[in-house]
Symmetry: C2
Subunit: 244 residues, 2 copies
C-alpha cells in the first residue's frame, strides 16, 4: 500500500453516487416542491420511482448520444429531456416551466454522503483531487459550492466531448493534470467506471455505496475487475492511503 | 454598479500578472536555485532580465503556435522551450536537466499579489470564480494548491485548444460555467485580454498591476477600451461589487 500511496499523485472522482447521494436528494427536492406548491402541486407523486427512472434515463440517453441517435447535449440538457418525458407519467404533467427548471437543477444541489467532505479534505492534503464525472462543468461547480466539496479541479467528460466509460476521458484527464495515467487513481462506486479507468491505465479505488439506489437497492455486480483499493467510504480511503 | 453586480454570476480571472506576481517569483526562484547550487551554479545571472525574456518568449511562442509555425504544446512545454533557448545567453547553459525542470516548474509556484487570496475569497462568496488563463490546467491547479487560491473552477485555454485572446476561449468558458457571456466578468491586468473578452460579450474588470513588470516597469497602454470596472486590486473589486 505504501508503494501505491507514493506512486499516485492525483485522485479523480466519480461524483453521482460516489460523492453525493443523488437519490435521497432528488426525492427530498421533489417532495419539497410539491409541498411548496400545495394544491397546485397535485397528488403526491412516487418520488423514489421518479428518481430511479430519471437516473436510468440518464444512462440510456448518454448511450443514445454516444451512438449518434440523439443530438449531443450536456447532462443538464439530458436531465431536462428525461424529466419532461417522465413528469406526465408521474401525474406531474402540469408543472410549469419555472418549476421544471428548478427541479432539473436539483442535480446541482445534491447532498454529499456524510463522509465526503471530511474525506475529500484529508485526501486533498496530499493529492490533487479532481472530479471526473459525466456531469457538466456548471452542474459540478454549482454542486461543489452548494455542498462545500473541496476540489482542486473540476474535470468533466463535457470538456473531452465524450462520456465515460470512453477511455479517452480518463486518459485526457490524467494528461491535463500533468500526470501519467498510472499516477492517477480513479475513485468510484461503480465497477464499470473503474474497469474502464483501469483499461486506460489508471489505478482504481472502489467505494461501494450500498444505499445509492435506496436501502436494500440493487448494486452493480463487481465482476472480475481487481481494484487497487476497496474502502467503505472516503475517510477510510484516506486512512488506507496513510493520511492521518 | 448594483445592476452590474446583480447581472453577473461568474468572474473569470487572468492569472499571470493579475492574480500572481510572476516576475518577483521567477527572480526569487532563480536566485535561490543558484544559491543552492553554490559554485556549481556559476556566476549570478541577471534574473530580472531572464524573467522578462522568458515572459516575452511566452507571448511570441504562443503566437507562433497560433500561426501554425510551432507545434502545439501546452504552456509548460512552451516555457521549457524558451528556457532552454535562454539559459546559454544568461551564462546558465550548464544547468542539468533536473534543475531545468525544477526551474520550469517555478511557474507552478508563483506567489499571489498580497490582496489576491483575501480578495478572491470575498468574490467567491457571491460569484462563481474561475481561472481563465493560457496557462495549462496542471500549472494552474498546482499554483492554486501552492498559493491557496480558492477557485471554484480551473478553466484554461488548454481545454479549448486555442490561446487567449481568441474569442472562442471566452465564449466557451461562459458556456461551460452555464451562463450567457454577459453574465460573466473577465478580470485582468491586461487591456488586450479584456478587449477580447468584451468582443466575446463578457463584462470586464481592469485591475492595473503597475509593478507587474517591475517597479517603474512598462504597462500595456489602455487604448480606447471602456471597462465596466477599474479597481486597484481584488479587494477593491469586491468592494465595488458591494461585497462586504
Amino acid at each position: 500500500m505504501n508503494t501505491l500511496a507514493n506512486d499516485i499523485r492525483a485522485l479523480t472522482f466519480d461524483v453521482f453516487g460516489t460523492v453525493v447521494d443523488w437519490r435521497s436528494s432528488i426525492i427530498g427536492e421533489g417532495r419539497a416542491l410539491q409541498q411548496r406548491l400545495g394544491a397546485a402541486g397535485g397528488a403526491p407523486a412516487d418520488w423514489p420511482a421518479l428518481a430511479d427512472a430519471w437516473r436510468a434515463g440518464y444512462f440510456s440517453t448518454m448511450a443514445q448520444v454516444t451512438r449518434g441517435e440523439l443530438a449531443p447535449d450536456n447532462v443538464d440538457g439530458l436531465h431536462r429531456l428525461i424529466l419532461d418525458r417522465l413528469l406526465p407519467r408521474f401525474g406531474l404533467g402540469h408543472l410549469p416551466e419555472a418549476e421544471r427548471d428548478h427541479l432539473n437543477r436539483a442535480w446541482h444541489r445534491l447532498a454529499p454522503w456524510p463522509d465526503s467532505v471530511a474525506g475529500l479534505t484529508r485526501l486533498r492534503s496530499r493529492y490533487v483531487t479532481a472530479t471526473l464525472s459525466n456531469g457538466n462543468v456548471a452542474l459540478l461547480v454549482n454542486m461543489a459550492k452548494h455542498a462545500g466539496l473541496p476540489w482542486d479541479c473540476v474535470l468533466s467528460a463535457e470538456l473531452v466531448g465524450r462520456f465515460k466509460p470512453d477511455l479517452e476521458v480518463y486518459r485526457t484527464a490524467a494528461r491535463w493534470l500533468g500526470f501519467e495515467p498510472g499516477q492517477v487513481m480513479m475513485v468510484a462506486a461503480h465497477p464499470f467506471d473503474l474497469a474502464a479507468a483501469q483499461r486506460a491505465g489508471l489505478k482504481t479505488a472502489y467505494i461501494p455505496r450500498p444505499d445509492e439506489r435506496g436501502p436494500g437497492g440493487p448494486m452493480e455486480p463487481v465482476g472480475d475487475t481487481h481494484f487497487d483499493i476497496v474502502a467503505p467510504d472516503l475517510g477510510a480511503l484516506a486512512t488506507q492511503l496513510g493520511i492521518a
